[in-house]
Symmetry: C2
């Protein structure tokens, strides 16, 4: 096994976030569930966008945000995700490369699907409600993978958002094979309860056959995948098959479980929660950076908490503060 060239390579949605402030009443009028993520089609994207307020655009995508965070901390990160050959695709590619993330996926050759976007409504309490028009992102295919790039990364990081559509799921299954054959680790984030509901059987099968070395989830996702209301029982259900599990619990902090060992850290303090978009993504970034750089389980959790605290203190899911200073502390 050769020395890895990258700390982490992620496969995920390649999406531009369109972020607007919204009152609670707007969510009610639109019939949206606060804090949720839903997939929408082009028509609904146009309709909702027309009703939304003035927005700001920043590159997003859950796993892409995580890689941006790792690069901002000084780690070596790569990303695989599908954009179209349009202006939003150029913005996505520029931003992720500008952070030093290796990004080689060529844009789609046809114009049938534009680059995906996520219409994010941020209420005054900082909660985000996401409406994703996936577009080109869900057309990621196994042919877009670079096996050498996968073999060159210590950890392959996958997001469950992309486990729902067929073509990207098949690409991820192939990537898992390549990574494991090269002796690399595979990490999975459960992303969202709606994704779990749609693909619970295949996610359980994946975890059950020991294909996931590191699992990220929040409390609700953990319970949902286990089909178990009690959190501790839900966690216990996966401890046998998954060597390391990390669960984020919002303002209560986070937990890591490694076999019989269980470590907890409190959430890092935040002066004002502006926009919670990307909190889980950046938590994963801090944890993965720590694990890739010889930090302890506890220290890795602490880095996750600090990175998450930075991201929720401003609009957008990409880091603004110097995360390099954060990891040096």
């Amino acid at each position: 096994m050769t020395e890895p060239r990258l700390d982490v390579l992620a496969i995920g949605d390649a999406i531009v976030d369109v972020i607007a402030s919204a009152e609670e009443s707007f969510l009610v009028d639109e019939g949206l569930v606060k804090g949720s993520m839903r997939l929408i089609d082009a028509e609904e994207a146009t309709r909702l966008y027309t009703h939304m307020g003035q927005a700001r655009e920043t590159s997003g995508g859950s796993a892409a945000n995580t890689m941006a965070g790792i690069a901002a901390m000084g780690g070596r990160a790569g990303f695989v995700g599908q954009v179209a050959g349009d202006q939003l695709g150029e913005i996505f590619a520029h931003d992720i490369r500008a952070l030093g993330v290796e990004y080689r996926t060529p844009p789609l050759g046809d114009s049938a699907s534009p680059t995906g976007r996520c219409l994010i409504l941020v209420t005054p309490d900082g909660q985000r409600t996401m409406n994703t028009f996936a577009g080109a992102s869900h057309r990621l295919a196994a042919a877009a993978l670079d096996p050498d790039q996968i073999r060159g990364a210590a950890i392959l990081y996958l997001e469950a958002y992309l486990w729902v559509p067929d073509s990207p799921r098949e690409a991820m299954l192939e990537a898992i094979e390549i990574a494991h054959r090269a002796g690399r680790k595979v990490a999975l984030t459960l992303s969202d309860i709606a994704c779990i509901a749609k693909r619970r059987d295949s996610l359980l099968a994946l975890v059950g056959r020991g294909a996931v070395d590191l699992l990220f989830a929040n409390e609700q996702e953990m319970r949902s995948l286990a089909g178990e209301d009690d959190f501790d029982r839900a966690l216990a259900a996966f401890c046998r098959d998954v060597p390391r599990i990390v669960v984020t619990c919002s303002e209560k902090g986070a937990i890591a479980v490694e076999g019989r060992r269980r470590v907890e850290v409190p959430a890092a303090p935040v002066a004002k929660v502006v926009d919670t978009t990307g909190a889980g993504d950046l938590f994963a970034a801090g944890f993965l950076f720590g694990q890739s750089h010889g930090r302890s389980l506890e220290e890795s959790l602490r880095l996750g908490s600090l990175a998450a605290a930075e991201i929720i203190s401003h609009f957008g899911a990409r880091p603004e503060a110097d995360l390099g200073a954060l990891v040096a502390s």
Copy 2:
């Protein structure tokens, strides 16, 4: 003369801002003059963008920002500016309409010029250095004007940025004719010393023939147009031809001159200057709103200062705080 339907209708650049943080050393390496605005072509836009850091995109354009500010204060504003039929054009049109600004200019029918963008580098001191690829924006033509819309606005507001390219300048000259024939007022902002240098003769001719009822400038622009180092003499040079002149003096505040009357206000305090992009634009918004709503000269200047203070306290040149509360105070 019928009652105006709009308080202000602006003609200006229709542009999306691409804002990235940059160190002073980046400006030095790129040979850029801090605080300046320069026009760049498509090739240079691509080259510079590749070197810039991760960015956020928000709708911009100087006069468009001013109209956004007026609408955010509860005023009735309209905007005329040229975008292309692309994703950035959709973003521009969405954002200005989402604020309640009347915007009817159809996108260009061909794909020869993409929607304009302004690559903005913000240094740690909050100063912005702007690199504008004008694209479709400089293809605004007189044919895109709606004479009824112009006749329906109490004030026609023009930006000198668009006085440089031929087609938009001709459109603005036609708009001035229509407005004056309908008994409306014409306001002009001098925008930038580079614009003045390129079109000094025709700007002086415009002012000299009494076509400008209200002139906005900063100290440097005032001196540049007058060709006079002494500020008071520069101001005096235009007092005969322009009934009302407003000059912004950054942290020193602002001055309004109406015939022999001269009113000054200090700058409103700002806790932290994050990004000065749009300070002049929002000052004009506050002043124009005040003038359209029966406020005194002094009170209009004060509204300008408050709106400018809001905009420089965050990234981007469009208001985030509730400017309606500001005008009610």
